[in-house]
């Protein structure tokens, strides 16, 4: 089967972002960028399915600026076979991205599409579900285990009270949770080989997709700062403060 994996270029998860003074957004100039951590898990799962002989080809796709080619090359170095970039410098919402991905799904006809459950910049947690809706596929979100058996995928999902297992008809959409796997690192020889793997660049226009949005960001501000706390010297003092000062116990 063919597997399509999506990756997003985002601010590195260790960076503490700063809001721009004019409230127009977050300052991304000269900030370290990386592959969204949930997307790394998605790539790893696809590569493992290929190593187990279940997948025949792993295609990785990103929607974003030209620089997102770096993240696609990383995915190729991790074991993906070829890459597609849908190049757009616009700030696209999840629905627009889902529509672009739907167009790629129509071209590639994968049996399984694996996405991360959310991107750590917008924290939307929408794209996979929207792509499933637009494609008419079943969805297995927040997956911590994926098994392929014939024409079906059995997905164990992380839900609020514990775990739930569902069976999905293929083709299907899976979004990854943190515990699905431990992503590998790219080795230097594989990074070199990845430079020779094919990478196609498409545009929203070429795909015939309108990226108009119904949502506008009016402003972005820093969250209210907490007032500075104090250090207490002993457990007795802590209990006293909680009882008599904060009055929470």
């Amino acid at each position: 089967m063919k597997i399509l994996v999506t990756v997003k270029r985002v601010v590195d998860y260790n960076v503490k972002v700063r809001v721009k003074a004019d409230g127009s957004g977050v300052d991304l100039a000269n900030v370290k960028m990386a592959m969204n951590p949930f997307c790394e898990i998605a790539v790893e799962e696809a590569v493992r399915l290929k190593e187990r002989g279940i997948a025949s080809e792993v295609v990785v796709v990103s929607v974003g600026p030209n620089a997102a080619q770096e993240q696609l090359r990383t995915a190729l170095a991790l074991g993906a076979d070829r890459a597609v970039l849908v190049e757009s410098t616009a700030e696209l919402g999840s629905l627009a991205i889902a529509k672009l991905l739907k167009a790629v799904v129509d071209r590639e006809q994968p049996q399984l599409v694996i996405l991360g459950k959310q991107a750590i910049d917008s924290d939307n947690n929408q794209t996979g579900q929207m792509l499933a809706a637009l494609s008419g596929f079943a969805q297995g979100t927040f997956a911590s285990r994926v098994e392929i058996a014939g024409e079906q995928a059995r997905v164990t999902r992380e839900i609020d009270g514990g775990l739930q297992t569902v069976s999905l008809n293929l083709p299907a959409i899976v979004t990854t949770d943190l515990r699905l796997n431990e992503p590998r690192y790219a080795s230097l020889p594989n990074i070199m080989k990845a430079k020779k793997k094919p990478l196609d660049v498409l545009t929203p226009e070429a795909l015939g997709v309108s990226t108009a949005s119904t949502v506008k960001v009016l402003k972005v501000e820093a969250p209210a700062a907490r007032k500075a706390g104090i250090k207490v010297g002993s457990v007795a003092e802590l209990v006293d403060k909680l009882k008599n000062e904060a009055k929470v116990i």
Partner: protein, 309 residues
């Protein structure tokens, strides 16, 4: 203008997050209708009808909705959504699962995890793990929104007397099937609704040492949470994880024990009213958000805390 709120439930009881979501709907303004979709969920509908501020309860009782599979639930909600200005669901794993599917089928963007209603079309939501707050405006005919429960005080679960009406002609989409589930058993309060939360991190060293926290939690009537490090190390199950990728809590008191305070953890608890940190590393970032910090070895401080309570 009427607002549709999708109830969170397990077919026998209405989940508390529904009450916070109704509160958000009332702030937007207009008649609030609650959809209870499930199988054998009559008791849930009765409970929803008693919720303060609810004008009408719609019940879709069908085996296709038993486990709220999004492939079956989304077409039902889309069918109902035409008559509403807003469709709201709690930002639980269920709400996050089915609502974006609904939004895409209606062809509108979804606004995820709002924490504040500015006006009927403008909302605030956290981005970048809570390090920035975005104010967003939606021009969609039907505004599709998930609500972060901790952003809104719940409405009363008693006092209302809404009419109950049966809806739904949608049956099984045939795309997916429920196989089974493993629900973690706990005698303690539910993490997201607890007034006090005691959480442990990597500093707990192993799962057995969480007994120390359970002792304190039981004296306080608190829920017990964990950092990702504690979950990944296998100390406790993943449904106890507090953070950007786990549960978001905002209790009256949050006690962080042996937790360094990574950005991803803070995203899940920094709206708590009072934060206490117990950590032996006085440089740990958790002390920057803690109202009361105790630099001490948790293996001495936690038992002493339990005795002092």
């Amino acid at each position: 203008m009427a607002i549709l709120v999708i109830a969170e439930h397990n077919n026998s009881a209405l989940a508390a997050a529904t009450l916070n979501t109704v509160a958000a709907a009332l702030q937007i303004g207009g008649d609030v209708h609650v959809l209870v979709a499930g199988a054998g969920c009559g008791a849930v509908a009765e409970a929803a009808a008693k919720v303060a501020g609810v004008a009408k309860v719609l019940v879709a009782d069908n085996t296709a909705f038993a486990h709220q599979l999004p492939e079956n639930l989304a077409p039902l909600i889309v069918e109902l959504a035409r008559g509403y200005s807003h469709v709201l669901a709690p930002a639980t794993t269920n709400g996050k699962n089915y609502l974006p599917r609904v939004a895409a089928l209606i062809d509108v963007e979804q606004i995820s995890e709002i924490i504040k209603v500015v006006s009927a079309d403008t909302f605030q939501r956290p981005i970048y793990a809570g390090n920035a707050i975005a104010t967003v405006q939606s021009s969609a005919a039907v505004k599709v929104i998930t609500v972060r429960a901790t952003g809104f005080d719940p409405v009363a679960g008693e006092g209302g007397s809404a009419a109950i009406e049966s809806v739904g002609t949608v049956s099984d989409a045939g795309l997916s099937a429920f196989v089974g589930e493993e629900i973690a058993k706990s005698e303690r309060p539910e993490l997201t609704g607890a007034k006090i939360v005691v959480s442990g991190g990597r500093g707990m060293q192993n799962g057995d040492n969480f007994q120390l926290l359970y002792g304190v939690a039981d004296k306080l009537g608190a829920a017990v949470g964990a950092s990702r490090a504690a979950v990944d190390a296998g100390f406790v199950p993943n449904d106890m994880q507090v953070g950007q990728t786990g549960k978001i809590v905002a209790p009256q008191l949050y006690v962080a024990v042996g937790i360094s305070g990574a950005i991803q953890h803070l995203a899940g608890m920094k709206d708590s009213k009072v934060i206490v940190a117990i950590n032996k590393d006085e440089e740990a970032p958790i002390f920057q958000v803690a109202d009361y910090g105790l630099v001490a070895d948790l293996f001495e401080a936690v038992p002493e805390l339990e005795r002092a309570l």
